[in-house]
């Protein structure tokens, strides 16, 4: 068995722009928790100094807290392109403001219903302290179009060559052996079914599986779930995602998980490994 190879030499590297967002609220600041208790959501949009990739997904007084810096392009069609082309592990450079010149890494995506679509970026502490909403970042996007050599039945989304090489899936007879922190049943997916796989996140809702000790950055497998084009139930297929935000008090919501890889169950063998986390794989912590 050896590390599986991809069409890395064929992949384009393109520049996409995202500006640091600022949190948004509706006319009433209150959302309602699963138990019917009103709360003020905090954590999505802008800059989060407290939470970074590698930390627990649960235990924050927050709703889907986005670690690090949250960016979006102010033009909706350009933002769609940013979301579709940016891949986890891509390099990001700050282009304006006091942190100009600092570099970071894409850690995930976060789509909220009828609201924002963000790309999440990890920066080191000095850059995080210096950056402000409105500062411009450039994502050096690479990964869209990725194919695993010899396995055309697998769909890759939001997965950069850098993450692929660090994750190092192994080639075995009928497919891949990949490391994940856990494998989950299909009903764990709450909000996020029916979305475009390449640009979205799906929420891991509590209840159907034990999500204790889940960390932001964890790679997870979801059984009977397909994300070849859109996200949805499909027996006999599997999807690998990367936990990108903290969890949520809202019913049917939870940690937003970015889609990386999807294909027939028979093409995967999973090895549970607590270190299958973006922070560990890319040395971000």
């Amino acid at each position: 068995m050896s590390t599986a190879t991809i069409n890395e030499s064929e992949l384009l590297r393109t520049a996409l722009v995202g500006d640091v967002t600022s949190p948004v609220l509706g006319g009433s600041p209150y959302d309602v928790s699963a138990d019917g208790v009103p709360f003020v959501p905090v954590g999505a949009g802008g800059i989060c100094y407290t939470v970074e990739v590698g930390m627990p997904a649960a235990g924050w007084a927050a709703d889907q807290v986005e670690p690090g810096v949250s960016i979006a392009n102010p033009s909706d069609p350009a933002n769609e392109a940013l979301l579709v082309y940016a891949c986890v592990g891509n390099r990001v450079t700050v282009r304006s403001g006091a942190a100009a010149g600092a570099t970071g890494v894409v850690t995930g995506k976060h789509e909220a219903f009828h609201a924002y679509k963000h790309v999440l970026v990890h920066l080191d502490k000095d850059a995080l302290d210096a950056i402000v909403p409105g500062d411009r970042l450039v994502v050096s996007a690479c990964g869209r179009g990725m194919q695993v050599d010899g396995l055309p039945e697998l769909s890759c989304h939001s997965l950069s060559p850098d993450l692929w090489n660090a994750w190092a899936p192994q080639r075995r007879d009928a497919g891949l052996r990949v490391r994940v922190t856990r494998a989950l049943p299909p009903e764990v997916v709450g909000m996020g079914s029916g979305r475009v796989s390449g640009s979205t996140s799906v929420a891991l809702q509590p209840g159907p599986a034990d999500l204790e000790h889940l960390r932001i950055g964890d790679l997870v497998a979801i059984h009977d779930w397909d994300a070849s084009y859109y996200t949805g139930y499909h027996e006999g297929r599997m999807t690998v995602g990367l936990v990108s935000t903290g969890d949520s008090p809202v019913l049917g919501n939870g940690a937003a998980t970015t889609i990386l890889l999807s294909g027939p169950t028979s093409s995967f063998e999973f090895v549970e490994d607590g270190a299958a986390n973006l922070a560990d794989l890319l040395g971000l912590a």
Partner: protein, 277 residues
Amino acid sequence: MVEIGLEAEIAHPSHSGSYTVDSYGRPIILPGMAGVVANARVGDLVFPWAADHLEPGVSAGNPNRERYHALQFLSCVGNVVRVLDGPAAGALGRVTGKHAFVLVDFPRAALDVLAPGDRLLVRAVGQGLRLLDFEDVAARSCSPTLLEGMGVAVTGDGRLRIEVTAEVPAFMMGAGLGMSSEWANCDVMFTRREVVERLGFEHVRLGDVVAMHDQDHRYGRGYRAGMCAFGVVAHGGYGGIPGHGMGVATILSGPAERFEIVRAPDANLRRYLELAD
């Protein structure tokens, strides 16, 4: 309970100009959403249509965002709707479900002449409805007319007896989870014929009342073991994109032990609301 009048108009279908992709990986462009569907109505089978998000009858919206939200949140299944202008002016219909629009059934003669842009008035009543002896059961978008029409009885052991045509397992619940209980509906991920057949849902009809197991739809929609939700089948068609499918608009939710579920092949809005042909 308060009854109020809400302004609405029949929405025109719209299109992104590009293909979506179905569960077989095929590019698709299919009708179904918005406007007037004259030949698929509440009471007809859900699936045998070449459609995506097939909204039977009339789809009512409002071009003003805030008014649209009021229409979407305050309309309840069973509410009376009146046509205000156009050749069908004066015709009366009933709210039969919710999706991106409020879905309304009218008599066939009206459906034949209604068109996008025609103005409607929804007489909204039902949000705030409580079952006084069942404080742990939430009613959502359920008009008093519907509750009465369903003939919900209290069993000898103190449970609500609900007739359904089908029971949905939690793993099939898709787009609509995580949203407000009163907003639109939740899709049951029937986008492939073989899954419809394997789970035995070919007989289900638009407007059927169905049970959804391990679903809590009181304050939003999501998985919760031991809870149960009920809804009406609002939209259908075979052709949906993955993660979507048969839409079910929430009407009731509470602890599973508070309900006695009874299978009844005619648990349908056409009977419960005495919809005119």
